[in-house]
């Protein structure tokens, strides 16, 4: 599988926002206006960033999600998946994250 290049459009906007809003090198607060954060961004983007909370409302998988955030999966006892992979069904849905 080849990686999809980050294009500068809305398809990869959520991927970009996840990185550019609160990751990166930390600049010392006393020389900086540090303004990365939701209050300065338009409401629409705040809704995009709140996707996690919304997902937990609808998800069957809230327990393992909490567990993952508590410790990386590799550190817990690993068990192999049950069942063997089969041929992909035609028309497999490939998701994209909800854009703004």
């Amino acid at each position: 599988m080849e990686p999809e290049l980050p294009k500068y459009n809305r398809a990869t906007l959520v991927d970009l926002l996840d990185r550019v809003l609160d990751k990166g090198v930390f600049l010392r607060a006393d020389v900086v206006i540090s303004v990365a954060g939701i209050p300065l961004i338009g409401l629409t983007l705040s809704v995009v960033l709140a996707g996690m909370e919304t997902m937990l409302e609808y998800s069957l998988l809230s327990d393992w999600d909490q567990a993952i955030r508590a410790s990386p999966p590799g550190q817990r006892h690993a068990t192999p998946t049950g069942g063997r992979p089969t041929e992909p069904r035609p028309g497999k849905r490939v998701a994209s994250a909800v854009p703004a």
């Binding site: 500068y8 990751k23 020389v31 996690m52 999966p73 998946t81 992909p88 994250a97």
Partner: protein, 263 residues
Amino acid sequence: MTADVAVKQDGLYVYCVARGKDHYPLGPIGLDGQRVYTVASGDICAVVHDRQAEAYQSEDPETVEGWVLTHQKVVAAATEAFGTVLPLAFNMIVLGDENGGGAENLMAWLEEKRDRFTRLLEKLAGKAEYGVQVFWDPEVITTALIQNDPELRRLRDEARTKPKGLAYMLQQKLAKAARAALETRANRCVENFYTRIRACVEDIRVDRLKKTDNGTQMLLNLSCLMDRSSGALGRVLDEIHKTEGVSVRFTGPWPPYNFVSPG
């Protein structure tokens, strides 16, 4: 900001840190068309444009999106010019103060961090960040789980033959059991996929899950650090993508936003 207070003009908006020399021009590619150039201390430079002491703020989401996209384009241009860079978050502006102008403060910061930045740049040379998201289709998986489990299959088949009231109760029982089976399967899949991905990258960060727009569920949202030339991750992702009901989204190369903070 009141009109009679002069806005200081000697701040610098900082995009990233790189190995490079002073006053290298990257062109008018910055936010709002600002000229982007470098400020260096020795061989470590920051990629900047001139900015007054004011954050970029707007109520208009499209404007903010445009700024964020431009920020990333500048970081990409800097990567072209200097190799792997240490990206900063959006809207980091270094101010002037009683000690000096923005440039002086920035150079002092670069000097203070020189050893750390030099080590990081060496560690990240030739590498990039890649995003990996694994999804599954819960309907497909649930159908297969029911089909492959004798007890669940029995419940399903019985519910079809029974009269309405009893059938409803059986379906409720089936749904509850299926949800539990799905959750168990999710745990196993996540462990399995994570372990296989982790084995072929240098470093990894686990990120928050996102809601999707097509009924699938995100199982894993990862940022991976690896050599740009490595094909190992792509091969593992091909295998994972072949798993029934599972799909993979693979993006990159990104500047290493997730691999430049301490700790």
